[in-house]
Structure formats: C-alpha cells, structure tokens
C-alpha cells in the first residue's frame, strides 16, 4: 500500500520533470537553441603539435558554426578533410560546409573537425579539456571534450 503510493508519486514527479524539461527546451528553441553531444578527441602522441576535436550539434536549421576556442590549443581553425582528385586533403571549411542546413552538424574523423594547433600539452586518455564553440544564432556554447581512444 505504502509502496504503491510512493511509486505513483515518483511517476507523477518524473512526468512533471519531463514537462519542465520540454518547456525549457521549447523556450531555448525560441532564442536559437542548440544541443551538442558526443564531444571528444583522440589522445595525442606525446610530441604531436596538433589534434582534432569532434562533436555532433543539433541547432536551428541554417545555423552556422563560426568559431571554436580552447585553452588546450595555441590556436584553432575549423577544418574539413576530404578526398580531392584521389588525394586526402585538409583545408579550412567554407561557410556552406559549416552550415547546419538540416539542423545537424556532425564533426567526425575524416570530415569536419576543430583543428587544435600548437597543443599546450598532450591530450591524455580519460582527461577532459574545455572547448567553447560559437554558432551564428545559438551563440557561444561551453563544452567539455572527453579524451577517448575510439
């Protein structure tokens, strides 16, 4: 009897929470909402001078990644690796490539990445480093990059 009532209370509470979260999400959506997941980087070789950060951003359709900054890097650029004439190339990404036309922007190995140059210290598996990204509409977003050997 007691147990049942506790359970129903919990369930009501979680429903209420869900609603609050949904409302919060909607509110955020109005001002250019963004959620960024899967923020990671590989551990770097001890003397490596640069590294790459990856993440998946869900933003308003048409929003655009304009900058990234991290205390782990002397400087950063937004890059894309791609095959051109059979050669693997890496270049600063252009406006179109950084635009989430369908509301999703995926940074992953072999494609878009935050190029972290002049690494301050090697990235060690299990560690975390800070990263701040800026979207045209969603604005600045603080992230934590987890260093994982994937």
């Amino acid at each position: 009897m007691n147990k049942t009532s506790t359970m129903s209370k919990t369930s009501t509470m979680s429903k209420t929470l869900t609603v609050i979260v949904a409302v919060a999400t909607l509110a955020a959506g109005c001002g250019g909402g963004a959620s960024i997941d899967d923020v990671w980087a590989r551990p770097s070789p001890p003397t490596a001078e640069n590294a790459a950060f990856y993440f998946t951003a869900t933003v308003d359709e048409g929003d655009r990644l304009v900058a990234a900054e991290s205390p782990a890097c002397g400087r950063t650029e937004l890059h894309i690796s791609q095959m051109q004439d059979g050669l693997m190339t890496m270049r600063p990404a252009d406006t179109g490539q950084l635009t989430a036309s369908d509301g999703t922007l995926v940074l992953e190995p072999g494609g878009l990445h935050v190029m972290c140059m002049q690494l301050v210290a090697p990235l060690v598996e299990g560690d975390e480093v800070d990263l701040t990204v800026t979207f045209e509409q969603a604005g600045e977003i603080d992230l934590t990059v987890s260093i994982e050997d994937r």
Partner: protein, 197 residues
C-alpha cells in the same frame, strides 16, 4: 509416423551438411579492394625509427601493411592507424605476423625520432620510415602514391595532401588489397586473418 521422422531427420542432416560445405567454399569477401592480378610489391629499403634499415621483403610469410602519411596529420592518419591497432588487438597472436610501415610524406618535419614517438603512440609494433626525400618520392611513385605539400607559415604549419590508402602486401610478397583510410577495425580484422591463411 516413424518413417516420417526418419525422413525429417535425414532432410535436416543433409541440409546442415550442405550449409557447412557452402560456408567453407564461399570465398572470403574482403572489406578492401582486391587487386585482380596481384603483382609483387615494389621493393625498397628505408631507415625506420628503430634504427634498422627495413624492407617489405623482411616479412615474407607475414603481412605488411603499407601506409604513406605524416605526423602533423591529426585527423585522417590517426583514424587509419588507430583502426589498424584495434584490428591487431582483435586478431590476438596473429598480430605478430602483421607489420605496419608508415612512410612519411613529410620527411622535412618527420625525423626518425618524431616518427618513433608518433607510431609508438598507436602500437609498439608500428614502424615509421623516413629518408632521403627523392628516394621517398621514387618509392611513392612505384606504389601509385602522390603527395604535395601545401602552403603554410611558421605558426600554422603546412598540410600535405596525400594518397591515404592502406595497402596490404600478402605473405607471398604480392600487393593484394587496398583499403580506404576510413576502414574500421571490425572490417579489417577478418581480412587480415584471411590473408594470413
């Protein structure tokens, strides 16, 4: 009724046997591109970060995975090298018979010391090869590999566009399978097993 049971059992036995035979006869489907008329892999000798002069012929009877890359490449090269390292973990003791050699396409910055540090980060067995830029260019051409250094400056460094395929030389010394740089460990491991026979 009894006869029906015997017939059913017989059908099942025949079907199981047939399945086993087709399984063993079915050729292995490679995850990479298999070269239709495999040629002997072009020979070369280059200094490795271990201090030894190495050559693919040192490993006849084993597999040599040949890759052209450079250490200032933080995105694609680590993707391929870490897939190979994970594939080696998957195949257990057979990993001792797979030898990865990365020839640098950036001999100016990639000294043997830098290469040793970079390769060892992925797998202790990986070899980093460097040497005379003209000799590296000659070897790359033999393998149909091209590269060109782009612009850059002191602070940003420069990138090197390069053919990023991973090439497998089989135990007979023939260049057999070519992989895209994005081959994953799960796809590569069964191929390595098959190539080792």
């Amino acid at each position: 009724m009894k006869r029906l049971v015997i017939v059913l059992v017989a059908v099942v036995v025949v079907a199981a046997a047939g399945l086993a035979v087709t399984r063993s006869l079915r050729p292995h489907l490679y995850a990479g591109t298999v070269l239709q008329s495999p040629q002997p892999a072009p020979e070369f000798t280059l200094p490795a970060h271990t201090g030894a002069e190495v050559s693919p012929a040192d490993h006849r009877g084993d597999i040599v995975l040949l890759y052209f890359g450079y250490t200032h490449c933080p995105d694609v090269c680590p993707l391929t090298l870490s897939s190979v390292a994970k594939a080696l973990d998957q195949i257990g003791d057979d990993a001792e018979r797979v030898h990865l050699m990365m020839i640098t396409v950036d001999p100016e910055r990639d000294t043997l010391e830098v290469l040793g540090d970079y390769m060892g980060h992925f797998d202790e067995s990986f070899l980093g090869l460097s040497g005379d830029p003209d000799e590296i260019a000659r070897i790359a051409a033999l393998y149909g590999v091209f590269y060109r250094a782009g612009e850059g400056d002191e602070s940003t460094g420069y990138v090197v566009d390069h053919t990023a395929t991973l090439m497998a030389i089989d135990p007979t010394g023939a260049l057999r399978v070519v992989y895209s740089p994005e081959i994953g460990a799960d796809a590569l491991a069964p191929d390595l097993k098959e190539l080792l026979g």
